[in-house]
């Protein structure tokens, strides 16, 4: 045994610690995810059963799709509060289309198109008319929900073609169809953010908008695209929920907004922009779904579940922020 291995220098220990913490700084929820999965698997009978995992996957798919859309917006330091209502309104219009035409695909297209249209509206108003994203999307949240209520009289819209449910609850090559959709969205979003000029602009604009303007980047176009992607993916998430449940409804997306925000923040994407990514969001969404399912299976009361979830969000986001500051501080 030489001295180096027996008693590493202070500098060497520091380097080693930095190296070991480097992935953690970018993915603060990864250890939580691994530990929680191990604990829940060991303590809950059937937690890793194929049926339970498939069930979790169907819950995970729409959440991660909506959260990936939200990631684009967060990367710019903005927020979109309308995703839940966009999902609800889209699901209502899609459900009417499916029911009246008998075409599942046309209905799903309507849901996505509704999301895209509202996302484009958000993008135009926020990027070019310079409205605050918080205030504007809050207005859209209220309005879209009210329109969905008006159209349906408050009722959910069901009795969709059987094919809708068959797809929503079906599997292909051993994976739930909805998970395939989520994987596709993840792959495209990951590619766009990491391997295209447009994708890199999200990080640059989010990190320093003024600098991006001086550098000649298409800042307003980037902001528009973020809200367009967010709305479109909220629509796609709505289609997933609708296909799984066999109904659309004016309050279907009410819980999604907070869960999507929690997924993005827990994953480690900065609320101030310029830092983050879709893999982080996927880990955040998985933690949310796993805790939701696991705590329920453990038999915890609803209130206890909410407390645990809240604490994980608080400490998870604090951990992410701390690790980020350490990393930025070193740089």
């Amino acid at each position: 045994m030489n001295d180096d291995t027996a008693a590493p220098t202070h500098a060497a220990r520091g380097r080693a610690r930095r190296l070991s913490l480097a992935p953690l700084a970018k993915l603060p929820m990864l250890p939580v995810l691994v530990i929680a999965f191990a604990v829940l698997s060991a303590t809950i009978d059937g937690f890793t059963s194929a049926a339970n995992l498939a069930n979790m996957a169907r819950l995970f798919a729409p959440l991660v799709i909506a959260a990936i859309g939200m990631t684009f917006v967060f990367l710019l330091g903005e927020i979109d509060l309308s995703v839940g209502s966009v999902l609800s309104l889209g699901s209502v219009l899609g459900a009417f289309t499916m029911r009246d035409t008998g075409s599942v695909w046309l209905g799903a297209l309507v849901v996505v198109a509704t999301g895209a249209a509202l996302g484009a509206l958000n993008g135009v108003v926020i990027a070019w008319f310079r409205f605050s994203s918080f205030v504007h999307t809050l207005g859209v949240l209220v309005t879209a929900r009210a329109v969905a209520m008006l159209i349906t009289g408050g009722h959910s819209v069901g009795r969709l073609p059987v094919a809708a449910l068959l797809f929503g609850r079906g599997s292909f090559l051993g994976l739930p169809n909805l998970l395939w959709l989520a994987i596709g969205v993840y792959a495209v979003a990951h590619y766009v953010l990491r391997h295209t000029i447009v994708g890199r602009e999200f990080f640059l604009v989010g990190a320093n908008r003024r600098g991006a303007v001086f550098a000649g980047l298409a800042v307003q176009r980037t902001r528009f695209l973020a809200f367009l992607f967010c709305g479109t993916l909220a629509g796609l998430a709505g289609a997933c929920v609708e296909l799984r449940l066999g109904s659309g409804g004016p309050i279907l997306g009410d819980n999604l907004l907070l869960m999507a925000i929690a997924s993005v923040v827990l994953g480690g994407t900065s609320v101030f922009g310029g830092e983050g990514g879709v893999f982080r969001t996927a880990t955040g969404a998985f933690v949310v779904v796993m805790l939701d399912k696991g705590l329920n299976l453990l038999g915890l009361e609803f209130y206890d579940q909410a407390i645990v979830m809240g604490l994980v969000i608080v400490f998870g986001s604090a951990l992410g922020g701390h690790l980020y500051r350490r990393r930025v501080g070193r740089a």
Binding site: A51, L53, A54, A57, G174, L245, S247
Partner: protein
Amino acid sequence: MQKTLATIGLAALLGAAALPGPASAKDLVIGVSFDKIEPFRVAEQKALTDAIAAAHAKQVFANADKDAQRQASQVDTMVSQGVSAIVAIPWDIEAANDLARSTIAAGIPFVSLDQAPSDLKSVTYHVGGDPCADGKVAGEFFVKAAAGKPFKLLELQGGLANDNGIRRSKCMDDAVKAASNITIVAQVPTDWNPQKALAGTEDSLQAHPDLAGIYAPWNDALQGVFAVLKEKNRLVPVGDPKHIVIVSIDGTPLGCKAVKDKLIDLEIATPLPEMARRAVAAAIKASQGGKIDPQAEFLPGIPYGPGDVDQMASKIWGCQG
């Protein structure tokens, strides 16, 4: 590359689809799925727990917290755990149809309680209150209270996305329709939210100081209504000239106390213990292969007021204890 592999691994982990696990428990296990938790649901949960214990069965409980997708997922989990039967209060009455069908297709009876799915044929058995009968009783009481004189009525509405909310409102409306002296000055959708009940009452009293009646189709609304009436010095007992006629539904301790305090004129109590007992009995019978007949039962509420609350107390679950 590492991220790609990790993603694929995560996906594979999540996605491995397979058949539900076998039912391992020798005892009967009832999966209870609630749409939300609020005071009335807590009472329903207690009634179900008592009924399940009386039947020497066990229960697995899940609360969907007003999320149809979460409820579907929780029921799917119960199915994969191999419960003997499901007793559910559906959040989304349309989504409940397909959820019930897929559960029954997996060989597990699905009993809906309190809130009926839009297609009653989709479930093994349904038992609930009779929201239409309750609404009708309320409407007829207002007609009687108005006694042919001009009568301004505020109608608070519950959740319009579920059967109870819709029918408690519609059937009350139908009952007062023929009375031309009764004017419904406002119909306020509250989504079962007492705060919205408060705001609706406040607005209506401001616009119509001569308001004569308030229809509060669930007891929790009374919190908001009373707060406003107290502020306006209109929270006075039945018989006082300033009293506003109030009819409510549910039969919770809050409603019973309001009747005993003579603050409301009529309360229609949902027969909760009986509903729970029938739901559990049907779930167990169906899980053992028995035929359920009738497939749906609607139990009308028990009306009572300040004049007969003492005689009726033993029949009203909220007046006990």
